[in-house]
Structures are given as C-alpha cells and as structure tokens.
C-alpha cells in the first residue's frame, strides 16, 4: 500500500487509492462518513470531488449538503433530479470525469444495501483500471446488521451486485444525536468481529464527538444530517431555530 497523503492529520487512515467508494447498509451513516471524509481531505489541502450516487433513497442524501461542500471548495456531482419529485435512478455523465481526474480525491457516496450498490456496476471497469478503496460502513445499532455474521453477509451481497471488492470496514455505530460514549465504546468488539469475518482491516471507528481511546483509530466527525427532523427527548425540541 503506497501512502498517498501520509501528512494529512485530518483523516485517521491512509487510503489505498484516491478513489474512495462508501458503501453499507442504508442508515449506517454512509453519507455522514462520506461528507466528513471529503471535508477532512479538503482541509488537508487536497482537491476533492464528491459524487452522490444514491439512486435508492430520495430523502436523505449527499446533495442535501451540496451548498456546504461547495463553500468548502469541494466539487459536488449530484443527480439531476435529486431533491425533486422525480424518483428516477439516473446518474450524471459527469461521474466519468472523476476517473479522468487522477490528481483529486473522488468520493463516491453509494446508496444503501445491494440495491444501492447496483449503481456501481456501471463503473466497475473504471474502478478496476484506476484502483479504488471501497469502505464498508457498519453500525451495530442497525437491526439488520446488528450481528457480525449478518453484517458480513450484507457486505458479500454488496460486492456481488457491484462486482467490486470491499477493502476496509468503517465502524460508524451510533444512535443518532443521543449517542453517548458507552454506545460508541461498546461497539469496538462488534467492529473487530465484523472486520475479522469480512477478512478486511478496520479503517477507523467514527463518531460525532471528540472521544478517544488508546489503541483505537477514531475519526471525529460533525453531524451533517438534516436538522429539522431532529428531536431530543430531554427538552422536546425538534430541530433548531
């Protein structure tokens, strides 16, 4: 593995390629991981393009963060119909430009599960030609992937549909805004077991907080999910004014 950007302190792992695919069960937090990786890479001085390749879910997607990403100097490739009522699985031709641009990072935020990964199939040959890192994001608090064998099985389905191989696991176990330190720390054994069953290294654990633990490679993120729907039990306040 050749370190591409060993001096970027903003990201906790050395990607094996500048083309980083983010896959996983839907609701595992793929988009949060993808957007935060993009911001961290950009903060380290790299050119970054993010592609919203979610053709499955019309509600929560990278395109929601497009304004913020653009402001940070990150290029966004978003489906023409994102955020509209056209629930159409069409991806922009602009995605091909990300393979031509060998200098910049390209982050591919893919839809959930094997059905979302199907969108990758179109680009399989390009990824194979240029090399890629394919992160498999998991959360032990998502019932369908709560058991490590189930999580490993879903990864195989994603690989089968995309005809690409995952290269590393990302542990993004969380219960949203209510995630506490214990929720996060409790997930390490799970993450290690998923990593073992998948036969892949654990790239990092990620959390929307500043928690640290010796021996763990923790990526500190900020939560970029839509605010208006958020809800805190304590004060009954949805969202922020």
């Amino acid at each position: 593995m050749i370190p591409i950007n060993p001096n970027n302190p903003n990201i906790p792992f050395v990607p094996r390629s500048k083309k980083i695919i983010v896959t996983g069960h839907y609701g595992s937090g793929k988009t949060n991981v993808a957007v935060n990786l993009a911001l961290a890479l950009r903060a380290g001085g790299s050119g970054v393009t993010v592609a919203d390749m979610d053709i499955v879910n019309p509600y929560f997607r990278t395109s929601d963060s497009a304004a913020m990403l653009t402001e940070a100097g990150i290029k966004c490739v978003i489906p023409q119909y994102a955020g509209t009522n056209v629930d159409m699985p069409a991806l922009p031709a602009e995605i091909y430009s990300m393979f031509a641009d060998k200098l910049s990072y390209g982050i591919f935020d893919v839809g959930g599960d094997d059905s979302g990964a199907a969108a990758l199939g179109t680009y399989t040959r390009h990824f194979e030609d240029i090399g890629y890192e394919m992160l498999y994001v998991v959360s032990m608090y998502r019932p369908i992937t709560a058991s490590p064998p189930d999580a490993a099985a879903l990864m195989r389905e994603i690989e089968s549909k995309s005809r690409l191989r995952c290269t590393a696991v990302v542990n993004n176990s969380n219960i949203g805004a209510q995630t506490d330190r214990d929720n996060f720390f409790d997930s390490f054994d799970y993450a290690d077991e998923v990593s073992r069953l998948c036969g892949l290294p654990l790239a990092f654990d990620s959390a929307c907080d500043t928690w640290e633990k010796p021996g763990r490679n923790i990526f500190h993120m900020k939560n970029i999910t839509k605010k208006i729907y958020e809800y805190t039990e304590d004060n009954n306040e949805p969202g922020q004014l």
Binding site: Y26, G27, N57, P58, Y59, F60, N85, D87, D113, S139, Y141, R142, P143, I144, A146, N174, I175, G176, Q178, N183, K226, I228, Y229, Y231, N235, N236, E237, P238, G239, Q240, L241
Partner: protein, 354 residues
C-alpha cells in the same frame, strides 16, 4: 434489547413482527418501501410471510383473507396506493375484520409527489371507504411512537374488530431515531372464535361476509357497529398536551408537524407569548372533549397541518366555534420551519391571521 437506530418505516415493521403479525402484503411505493424491504428480510426468519402483491388492490384483498382466518395481517402504502385500497378497507369494516393499514403520506392529489404531506386526513378520518363506517386512525410523531402505536394498533383492531390505520408521512417514515422495543408491548394474541379457520366438524361454521340480503339486517349490523364506535370514542381517545396550562394561543397539530410546533411554542414562550400545543394522537376518535375544555380557557387556536386545511374543521366542530380558529399550512411536500410557525403565532397573538 437496548436502543437501536431505525427509520420510522423499519420501526413499524419490526414492531408489527413483535406484535405477532406474520402476514404482510404490500406493493412498493415511495416513501414507504422500506417496510416491504424490512419484511422481506425478517419475515422468513420468523416463519412469516412477506408477499409482494401484483397491485395495492390485490394486497388489501389478501389482508382480508388472512384477517378472516384470524391472523394478524397488515399492508402498507402511500397516498395514491391507499386510494386504491379504499374498497378493500370498506369490505374489512363490513366483515368486522381487524388489520393494520399504514399510510406514509406523500403530496397529492393524483400521483402528486414523494415528499411528506398530511393531505389524506379527510380520507383517513371521514371516508376511508364507502358506507357508514369508521376506522381507528393513529398519528405517531416520533420513531418510538411509530413502534408503540403499531403494537397498540393490532391490540385495538382485535379488541374492537375493525381495521386500524397508522397515518404518518414521508418524513416520519424516512427519518431515523433511537428506538427501544422493551416497552413497546403487543404480541399477546387473543382468541378469535369468529375466525374462518376451519371448523373441523367440531363447531358451527363461521361465515365472514359483508353482504346482507335484508335491508333491516344490514341496518342492525351497522347500528351494532356504531355502538362499538361509541365505546372506542369513550375509551380510546389519545392526545398530548404541551404547555397548555396557562396558554392563551393553543396550537393544534399532529405527527411530524407537532414537532415543528413544539419548537415554535418554546420560541413563542421565549418571546413572551403564552403558547401551548394540543397534539391529537388518535385522529379518529378525535379528542373533542379536551379541545372543548381548552376552548373555555384559551383566547384562540392555531391549527398547523401539511395540507390546505383539513383537521381545522374538526377543531371548529369540537369547540362549537366558541373561539377563533386560525389555520397555517404548507402542502405539496413542503415543510414549514419553526420560524414560519412562530410568525403565525405572533400574528395570532396580535389578534388573528385574517
């Protein structure tokens, strides 16, 4: 089980399975397709059936069959698909069959859009099918409630032998929150001596039917059913009051909109306006008594919905027009922000919207 992170659609599906539902019949439509996806993954593991029917109409008729056999059955769809199910729902009522129907509403009319709406309120509460009929309509406002009201829906349906609808929207269906299933309840399956499940020569045969040859018999059946409706109105009305004790402006909102209104109420209080919120949890039966009671104390009401004004009629009826009732709504998949609602509260406090 500790807390897990789920989409509203998934929480409903998981709660249904935990409530003993083993028969799910559906047809895909955004924004509720995760229910079918979750059922497809989970049902085979618990010995249940998840069947993608050839249409919404087929799905609701399969529900009639499973319910008639005494099974806990359900279907789910979104607005246009629910319209297709209307005939079947009327048959379920006419046959006195319990089941769960989910409407994860999207913008309408017609094919409309895929973003959240509350514009099927009239349909759900007034005319979910032809004939003299009601179904129970529950309106959750959090993912935890999506789960707990699903369990409650199956229990209510069995208790009163009628279909129960959960009326949510695309936002509640899609958004994720922590859920704890420990106290969700459900899963106690009552005896159903009326079910057409095979008499084996040991009892009189059960007939499930909604056709009456004699008009007088049909009238009697409807009158008997309305006695059950009266019992439901007395016993099963649910609502939540938020800061209504000293409220001068009382907001009325349900589901996703109630959350926006709560934030607006808090903001209004910070601005020196005594606002409060009544959140109906059952939309039928409607919490008329508490509204009538509030009407004696508050200055005016502000109803907020994701439609052009539907539930606002029920508020006026409940309070016999004792106090002015203002309305604020967005439609077509648009959502008001708490700031938008706050502005309306400020206008109401200054003497009304008109």
């Amino acid at each position: 089980m500790s807390k897990v992170l789920m989409k509203g659609n998934e929480a409903i599906a998981e709660a249904a399975i935990r409530s003993g539902c083993r028969h799910y019949f559906g047809y895909p439509i955004t924004p509720q397709t995760e229910i079918a996806e979750y059922m497809a993954k989970r049902m085979p593991r618990v010995g249940g059936l998840c069947l993608q029917a050839e249409s919404e109409i087929a799905a609701i008729n399969m529900v009639i069959g499973a319910a008639a056999a005494g099974k806990r059955a359900m279907t789910s769809s979104s607005s246009p698909g629910i319209s297709l199910k209307a005939e079947g729902i009327s048959y379920l009522v006419g046959c006195d069959l319990p089941c769960l129907i989910l409407n994860i509403q999207r913008g309408g009319p017609g094919l409309g859009g895929i973003q959240p709406a509350q514009s099927d309120y009239y349909q759900a509460t007034k005319a979910m099918g032809h004939g003299d009929m009601h179904i129970i309509v529950l309106a959750p406002s959090s993912i935890q409630e999506m789960a707990s009201l699903t369990a409650r829906a199956f229990d209510l349906g069995d208790k009163y032998r009628l279909p129960v609808m959960i009326l949510a929207d695309g936002a509640l269906g899609q958004m994720m929150e922590p859920v704890d299933f420990d106290n969700v309840g459900g899963g106690v399956l009552p005896e159903k001596p009326w079910a057409a499940s095979g008499h084996e020569g040991k009892r009189k045969k059960n007939v499930i039917n909604s056709l009456y040859i004699e008009p007088s018999e049909l009238e009697n059946a409807v009158i008997e059913r309305y006695k059950r409706y009266a019992a439901i109105e007395t016993n099963e009305t649910l609502y939540e009051e938020y800061m209504t004790d000293d409220a001068e402006i009382c907001l009325v909102a349900y589901g996703i909109t109630s959350r926006i209104c709560k934030t607006a109420v808090n903001a209004a209080r910070k601005n020196g306006i005594k606002a409060g919120l009544l959140r109906p949890i059952t939309l039928w039966p409607y919490p008329k008594a508490i509204l009538d009671n509030l009407a004696d104390r508050v200055d005016r009401f502000l109803v907020v919905e994701l439609n052009m004004g539907q539930m606002v009629d029920d508020v006026k009826i409940a309070i016999n027009c004792k106090k002015p009732v203002d309305f604020f709504g967005r439609t077509g998949g648009m959502m008001p922000t708490p700031e938008d609602v706050l502005k309306q509260i400020q206008k109401a406090a200054a003497g009304g919207l008109k």
